[in-house]
Amino acid sequence: MANEILEEHINKDYEWGFTTNIEADEAPKGLNEDIIKFISAKKNEPEWMLEFRLKAFRNWKNMVEPEWAHVSYTKPNFQDIIYYSAPKPKKELASLDEVDPELLKTFEKLGISLEEQKRLSGVQSNIAVDIVFDSVSVKTTFKETLAEKGIIFCSFSEAVQDHPELVKKYMGMAVPPTDNFYAALNSAVFTDGSFCYIPKGVRSPMELSTYFRINASGTGQFERTMIIADEDSYVSYLEGCTAPQRDENQLHAAVVEIITHKNAEVKYSTVQNWYPGDKDGKGGIFNFVTKRGICLEDNSKISWTQVETGSAVTWKYPSVILKGNNSVGEFYSVAVTNNYQQADTGTKMIHIGKNTRSTIISKGISAGFSNNSYRGLVQIKKGASNARNFSQCDSLLMGDKCGAHTFPYIEIKDKSAVVEHEATTSKIGEDQLFYCKQRGIDNEKAIGLIVNGYCKEVLNKLPMEFAVEAQKLLAISLEGSVG
């Protein structure tokens, strides 16, 4: 019985595994200064940007791929990756009608109807979407509506052209190009991403959203996202991602930087659903991502919420540097691993300012033969008086062949700090499932009920529509995984 259920789940296809036949404009495989110059030239970048890239590349060459994470995989051959792939023809798109119909079909399949988004324009509850297809941003919706408020929401490439002073000022502030191996790689070869600037005193009237899609084979995706919230501003930002089903591993090494000024708040939510590989662990995305925010000034707040169900290997620690006094950092995470997926994910909360507060709620769910690790650092620097942190790291096991691990690091250099850490490990048992069945609730529903109950604190933090999507995704990711 248990095996049947497992079988059923395993045979469940990754729904987003299709590819789109779009002619692509690609760089030759491999990585060297010429390729970087090629990318920079393709994007018609100013000299300083090329310099930024080359500097990062020279640094990267001397760096070693990190091995401390609790994951094992065959390291990617960085000379065997295509670093630039753009759907052709790449020209300025004036309206949706000019977008390649194949591309539009893809996004419809993914459940994002641009047409619908357009039709609904002007309605308050709307979401503005930027779509990044392989290496380039193909369309940003609602740009004009947002511009009326002074909000800049565009692709990163456009920002480099149209707002170079902002990009130059903030780029690398939260994630310096020398930060780590993958961040350095990204800084050298990043192709596109989203850029968002919320001016003083503005609350974004809609949620901003970027949808990332890897399509072309043999490519890596290296996008760069930057969100700057000026004084007294607020924005809620959503990120979604999928990739086709391929036998090879594809690398996704993104960088996200968030900067908040005085009294500003950024809420960043991710539902990550990159292709996780097949039941034997073949294929899938390597998701090696650096996400960090700086609460640069007083009373600002950065909140990360992530629901991670995809990727073969995840290496990701969305962090907050609490520099301003009274600033607040939050991290809410649900990470699900099934089959042979591996995740090493968590956060870093660096307390520098006085009266800074951070909250970490991490919910790991492991099923199949997977390994799920929480790794988190809470650092209270000297002088960060009255800093507070509360961490809760829970693990839920399904079956007896998976692993859950917790690696909390706490470094306190100020005596006034109050740091709390709680951790639990539990298991969905046959007894619980039988109890549910005896009340008329079948296995699938019961698992959904238990898992959603377990993740409630995190799912509650997601914007409404995203929460519904996340719940469905959790159910699909774990279907039949109790044996």
């Binding site: 007894d431 619980q432 009340r439 008329g440 079948d442 529903k445 009920l449 109950g453």
Partner: protein, 253 residues
């Protein structure tokens, strides 16, 4: 209502039920008593569809359907309810959400629409009074941190909410003090109708002072060895099971 014919069940190589015959009609209350290890809980588990047991022989007809062919969830949806001896905790899932899901799954199976939230809450209010269940328990996680008595009352509360045709109470009296016992029994009695039936599995006669059975069956060594009216329970209480044991042990050897 339910007709159990020559039911044999084993766990691993060990045969535990060795030919149970029992018919329960609508409107009846049957008590099943017996010493430890006689197969009482196995019987309730097999009827509810726990997969740890293999049914090796016999059949069970429930509402005209072959019960043993149905998965556990469909047995519940057909109207079979088991009040667990040891109710299970489900952290993070509120009692209310759990019951609402259960109720709507059962309704869907029976071709009924989902119950409106307003009606559901009214039902919760009405039924929780029946077992004097604190309203706060309804919003807490299923059985998590409940006292023994609260867990048992919660089982009867769930029974009241789901309105089963046949309820099997598996040692519902164990671990209850006299007040809780009275509350639980009162709840069960109030739920009794001419259309439903109850099987009370118990070790002691005590519960039967409150839930008065129409029939009492003595289970020993996997078989019903003696049946009678409610006086049989009193007789067992007075004499103990030793006489039965020696009588049937000698028959077997």
């Amino acid at each position: 209502m339910i007709n159990i014919k020559n039911l044999h069940a084993s766990i691993g190589d060990k045969e535990i039920l060795r030919g149970i015959n029992l018919e329960v009609k609508a409107g009846e209350v049957h008590a099943i008593m017996g010493p430890n290890g006689s197969g009482k809980s196995t019987l309730s588990s097999v009827l509810a569809g726990r997969e740890d047991y293999d049914v090796t022989e016999g059949e069970v007809i429930f509402n005209g359907k072959n019960l043993l062919d149905l998965p556990a969830e469909d047995r519940a949806r057909e109207g079979l309810f088991l009040a667990f001896q040891y109710p299970i905790e489900i952290p993070g899932v509120s009692n209310i959400n759990f019951l609402r899901t259960a109720l709507n799954e059962i309704r869907a199976y029976q071709g009924q629409e989902e119950m409106a939230a307003k009606d559901f809450l009214a039902l919760v209010k009405e039924k929780s009074k029946l077992v004097e269940l604190d309203a706060k328990l309804a919003s807490r996680s299923v059985n998590e941190g409940f006292s023994g008595g609260e867990k048992k009352r919660n089982e009867i509360f769930q029974m009241a909410m789901l309105n089963p045709k046949l309820a099997i109470l598996d040692e519902t009296d164990s671990g209850l003090d006299i007040d809780a016992l009275r509350i639980v029994a009162t709840g069960v009695n109030k739920l009794k109708s001419k259309d439903n039936a109850t099987i009370v599995i118990t070790h002691y006669q005590r519960l039967l002072d409150y839930i008065v059975p129409d029939f009492v069956h003595i289970l020993y060594n996997g078989r019903i060895v003696k049946s009678g009216g409610k006086e049989l329970a009193l007789e067992m209480e007075a004499k103990g099971y030793d006489e039965i044991k020696s009588q049937f042990d000698s028959l077997e050897s």
